[in-house]
Structures are given as C-alpha cells and as structure tokens.
Symmetry: C2
Subunit: 421 residues, 2 copies
C-alpha cells in the first residue's frame, strides 16, 4: 500500500508541540475568564453567504467552499467573527448588555501555502458587544494585552489608530465612494506613492494629501496626538477620544500603548478605533493581533449595536513565544516503573495506579525490556524517576527508586512510597 499524505498546507502536531499549544490556549482562556468573558463555539462550516455578507464576493476565492449533499452552499470558516456575530444575532441579542464573549478555533483558507501561512490555522479572539465605545475599546485592548502579559510575551508593540481621523481627510478629498475605499487600501499598505497620484482627479488637493501622508506616518506615545492636532487645524473629536483611551489603558496598567494613525485595517466595516499588536521578534510577519470597533450585527439581520473585537493569530503567537525564548512548563513523565520479573507485573500495576490516583504522571514498561534498555527508554521520555521492582524487592514489599538526574538509588517500602516521592 502507498502511504497517505496529509493535505497540502496543513499540519500534524506531535505531543511536545501539542503540550505547548494547549498550555498557551489554557492561559489565554484563563485570562479571558478573569476578565469576565465567556467562551462560545460555533460550527466549523457556515453558509457561504454569511462570509460573503461580511467580506464581499472576493472572499469566495479564498474559501474552502462546497455544496453539501442537500445542494446547500457551505464553506469552512475563514475567520470567526462572522460566525460569532451570527450566533449573537440568533440567540444573544436579548441578554443583558454588554455581552462579553471569546472563542478559540480553527479556520481555513485556500491559498498557496507559504512559510508561516497554513490552509488550516487557529484564531483566538474576543468580542465585547453593546457597551459604549470608549469603555469597550479600553476593556478589549486591555484583555489582549493582559493575555500576552500572562503568557510572558512582553516584547510587543500595540499600535492604536482611529478611522475617524482618516475619514475626515478622505472626506476633504471630496472623492467618490469607490475611490475612498481605494484610498483606504493605499493607507493600509502605506503606499505613499499611489496616494500622491490619486485617481478620480483627487490629486488636485495637494495640501490635504501632504497632511494625510504626514499624519499616517505619525507614530508614538500620547505626545503624538498633539502633533496630529496641528495637522488637523486644531483637532478632531477622534483625537480627544484616543487621548481618553490612552488614559484608561494607563489605569489598566498598560502605559506603553502607541498611537499610529497609519493603522487602517483594510476591512471596510470598522467604525472607529482600530488597533494592531506586533511581536517584533517575528520580523516581517510580525503582526499577531488585529481588531477594532465595528458594527456587524445589523448586517446579519440583527439590531445595530456597538462592538469591539480582535483576533489573535494563534500560530504566530506560538512562534513569537518560541523566538522570545518564553518557556512553557514541561509535561515530562514523572515516574517510570520497571518490573524486572513476570511476578512483579501485577505489583507494578498496583503502584502505577496509586501514583496516578495521587496525581503523579506515571507509566510502566509494557515491553518486558531489560534494565539497560528500560533506562534508555526512561531517559528518552524524560522520566524524573524510575521505580524498579524485582524478586528481592517483591519479597521485602519494597521498590528501588532511581533518580534519573542524580543517579542516586534508594530502597523504599511500598507503603511509604507516596510520602517518599
């Protein structure tokens, strides 16, 4: 028989990698719980229409889209916000506000596989629905930053922008809606060249354009807001909003948030604050989180409602933790039991079960290995201690305990084993 290969662009995860991933997942879940966010889970596939409603027809090219046996058009989810907001509209609109939810799940996109980009990948995100903007925005950014802090990933940069600022400039161009979208895309790509030669006759207003380019290059702490005021003839409510947001984040304990007016988040549905988090250790593909304020419920047939949310790229976070040298606790086996005669096997099983019942991870030799091979195996799985049971030990109701680090051995009565360990 030929071997079967896993599908292109997908991954298998072995035990060492999975232990790390589950640890990180649990830490993120625990942080969300501390913040009063509740987890939700939605189906892996949805009607293709849902994703088109959120992201436009263009998304179909990137979807794993297919027809089921009932000729329904369904797609594997390319991201989770659409599914979660669909769930919100279906079942959570009448809950007391705010609704604070988070999710962790796999997503799919059909694209050429390349380094760090997979056809099945993992997202973790949160949505805060139904509270005033400023409170939501602060709480949601704080959750994202606390999550990274609790993971020990402190070498990150959060960049916060506001579409209100960009939109004001774009309004001043007086261009058509199509061109506005085009301009937004240029800003998002920091494509200053194209911005200088706008289509639709908009190049006429060179002053606006120059100021816009200066603005989207502005990055830094609270003092950046003052510089923006100068470019905007004295100010704009969005700038006051950002100043207030930074104050609140300060109170949350995050005093190093940056303002970056170049954050435009490509998507058309954000309505105000937008933010991105980078892990500089990742180099060119450094963005690990993106989010902002949006309304989406109304697009899905629900009542319009303020929402703020974000999504972490879980795979990038795993990579950033590795690059930053952040350790996750070892899941190595604590005890390996070696019965060295047939008579010892049942006794070994009993000890094995008692250790496990006491919350100690333990395994025993199932291969009837001799001493030296068993020690080699115990080493290869990183066992902390080996318990040896032979005829002598059996006769004395004892075992030999060998510390695999120090090499020290001790004879211990079975009745005193738990205390000894």
């Amino acid at each position: 028989m030929p071997e079967f290969q896993r599908p292109r662009g997908t991954r298998d995860f072995g035990p060492a990698e999975m232990a790390k991933r589950r640890y990180v997942e649990a830490k993120m879940r625990e942080t969300a719980r501390l913040f009063g966010f509740g987890e939700v889970m939605t189906p892996t596939f949805e009607s293709t229409e849902l994703f088109v409603a959120r992201s436009g027809e263009g998304i179909i090219e990137e979807l794993y889209a297919f027809e089921d046996k009932g000729n329904r058009k369904i797609s594997l989810r390319p991201e989770l916000t659409a599914s979660v907001m669909r769930f919100y509209v279906n079942e959570m609109q009448n809950l007391p506000k705010p609704v604070k939810i988070f999710y962790f799940g796999n997503c799919f996109r059909y694209e050429r596989p390349q380094a760090g980009r997979y056809r099945e990948f993992f997202q973790l995100g949160a949505e805060l629905i139904g509270a005033p903007s400023i409170e939501s925005d602060a709480e949601v950014i704080a959750l994202a930053l606390a999550t990274l802090k609790n993971l020990g990933l402190e070498d990150v940069v959060v960049r916060i922008g506001h579409l209100g600022v960009l939109n004001k400039f774009i309004d001043e161009f007086g261009v058509k809606k199509d061109t506005q979208i085009e301009i937004r895309r240029m800003i998002d790509k920091q494509d200053f060249e194209s911005l200088n030669t706008l289509p639709d006759g908009a190049t006429a207003n060179k002053d606006v354009n120059d100021r816009l380019i200066k603005l989207i290059r502005l990055k830094g702490g609270a003092e950046t807001i003052q510089k923006a005021r100068e470019l905007m003839d004295g100010g704009d409510p969005s700038l006051d909003y950002l100043a207030d947001l930074l104050d609140r984040l300060n109170a949350y304990g995050f005093d190093n948030c940056q303002v970056d007016f170049g954050v435009a988040r490509g998507l058309d549905y954000y309505t105000g604050m937008v933010f991105e988090i980078d892990a500089p250790s990742l180099g060119a593909e450094k963005q690990i989180c993106g989010g902002g304020a949006y309304t989406l419920a109304d697009l899905f047939g629900g009542q319009e409602v303020n929402s703020t949310g974000y999504a972490f790229g879980f795979d990038r976070i795993m990579l950033a933790l590795e690059k930053s040298g952040v350790d996750v606790p070892s899941q190595n086996l604590e005890i390996y039991i070696l019965p060295i005669c047939d008579e010892a096997k049942i006794a070994a099983i009993k000890i094995l079960s008692e250790l496990r019942n006491a919350g100690i991870s333990a395994d025993m030799d199932l291969m009837s290995r001799n001493m030296s091979k068993a020690m080699k195996y115990a080493n290869s799985v990183g066992a902390g201690k080996v318990i040896i049971i032979g005829e002598k030990e059996l006769a004395e109701k004892s075992v030999t305990v060998r510390d695999m680090k120090t090499g020290e051995q001790a004879r211990v009565l079975i009745s005193e084993l738990n205390d000894y360990l």
Copy 2:
C-alpha cells in the same frame, strides 16, 4: 437583511455550556497525561481515500466529501483513528515503542440529524501502538475507566469481548468470507433470528449455531469465562486471555469489568479484544465508548504493528454527566465593580486590574448603570461580591464591598482590599 441560520445538524455553544465542555475536556486531558499519553492533532480534513481505506467505499455516503480547488478529493474527517494512524505511519514509526497518544477533536458525518446525533460532533480517544496485546489492552481500558472516574461518572458498565472466540465459531461454520462478515454483523446487532437461518447453507450445523447464540448472550464477571469454556469444549486461548485481562484490570483498581461475548464492534479491522462502555442513564443511546485491538498501520503503508485504541463520544459523555447529576465547577464572576460617579471610573479600572492580576475574576460596569440596575445585572451573571465606588469612597480611598449572598456590606480601604477579599 434576513438572519443567517447555522447549518442544519450543527450547534452553537454558549458560555455556560462551553465552560462545562472545557472543564470535562481538561479533566480528560489531565487523566491522559497522568497515564503518560501525549496529545496529537491532525488536520480537520484528509484525502477521501484515507477514510475509504479504513472503512470501505460505503463510508463515502456519510462523508462531507468535496473537491478542493486543485481537484483533490478531500473529506471532513468522520472519525479520528484513521488520521492519527496516518500521522503515526508518516512520522512516528521510528519512535521507541510503545507510542501512547490521545486526541480530542471534531468530526463530521452527513446524515439525517436526529436527537443526540449531530453533523458536527466531538470525539476523544487514545491509541497505544507497538506493545504486546495484553499489556496494551489493559492499559487502554484502564485509561478509559480512569477518565470516567476522574470525571465523577461512576455509573458505567464496561463490557469486554474477544473476536477470537467469535471467529472460532464462525470458522466452524465453514462458510465463505462474505458470509462471515454477514454473520459478524448479525452478532453485532444481536440479531438471533437471522443467525438461525444463515445464508450459504450454514444452517446445516445447528449445534454450532445454538452454542454460538448461547455464547453471545453470555454476560457477567469472571465466572462467565468458565461458562464459555463449557460451550467451547473445554476452552480457547482467547478465554485465557480474557481471564488474564480481568486480573490486570483488577490490579489497576477496576474490579467490576464485565465479559460480554456479544461485543463484535461491527468494524472488520479489530483483531482481538473489543470493548464498549455504557452509561445506563442515557437509555437506548447508552454507549459512550468503543474500542479494541487492531492493526491499521499496515493498511496505510506502514509496518504491521499491534495497536489498541478507543474513542469516547464526547457529546454523549456531556449528556451522561448531566443525567447523572455530576456537577462541574461554576465559572461565575467573583467580583463586579460599580463606579457610581464619573470620577470613580479610573479608580475602578485600577482596582479591576489589580484583582485580575491577583487571579480573581472581575468585571466592572461599562454601561453607567444606576445602583439598582447594576445589582440586577450582577445577580444575573452570578457575581459573588459587588464593589461600589462613589464620591465618599473616593475621598476616603476606600470602597464598599457587598456580599451578594448575605447582603452584608463593609467599607474597606483600597490598600487592604486584596487581603479582605
């Protein structure tokens, strides 16, 4: 806009349900870790061929099978053993034996949705690969039972059979292979009527048939093995094997395992021991686990190797826990903070962050609610205590703490709050 509905036969899980599911998942994962099993994860879809190789062409009808944009035939996985063994053959064959792995994931089948059966459902299972049968079988059944015990689900029945016993009878019929498969299916369905009127002229041997029917009705403790010996002219190696297995499970601390010669597990690839676990509280759909000894690696292009594995139906376990009244710990919010004037908001955020940093789940009013509405909200989310901060409190650097169960209130200095809580 019309509302979007989730696909037929799938589910959305809200926060209360998800908290329970994640708790159960974590308990199961922890038990596997104590047993020295390592978690693996494989892609959500695989080549359709893989599932056909495991289960035959018939499986295609039940698959979410489709072609991707590269015209590759892929399917959402209907179960996880095929994927995990594919991974084993690809990357784990050269690891020291035994390889002990477990998995948790979602699976998909296209079938008419009905009570308790979903198109997307969840399985948790384990495989022990490369150790002698008796050691593997005992360790794997022990893991399944320890998992349920650690969940507090003790009202279960494990029924263990052996295909060696059934095959010996079927051999005695002297029928063709097709008929053998047919007979196996009748046994699995406990269809005694059809067994009496076998196709292929096999009815000739009425004595064998009568004894077979008696045998597959045999159920009970170790004494059942003795009764089986009488039906089998003195015995069979498979019976000795089962006696040994029960002794070992006894040493593991599981002294109530039953023998049930009627367990045939429908599938054609099991090679020896087969077992099922029932949760009687579930009524007709009571089976929560199925497994046995098999070889599958060779079918996927690898070396032939002894394996024993099982899969839990995770959704059925959730149902059984509920029916049995097993509680999972509450994830209710511990503290809800209510700033009752604008000036208190920043102070509230600081206290909020300190509590969360100390590992206390805390939330604050983001809606500028008045006292009575805020208390109603705090009640609705099950908050343990409410912290109130108004002008008086601010002036005294204190807060008012209200216990939501007793209704008692106390004024506490902010500097002493952590200790007080």
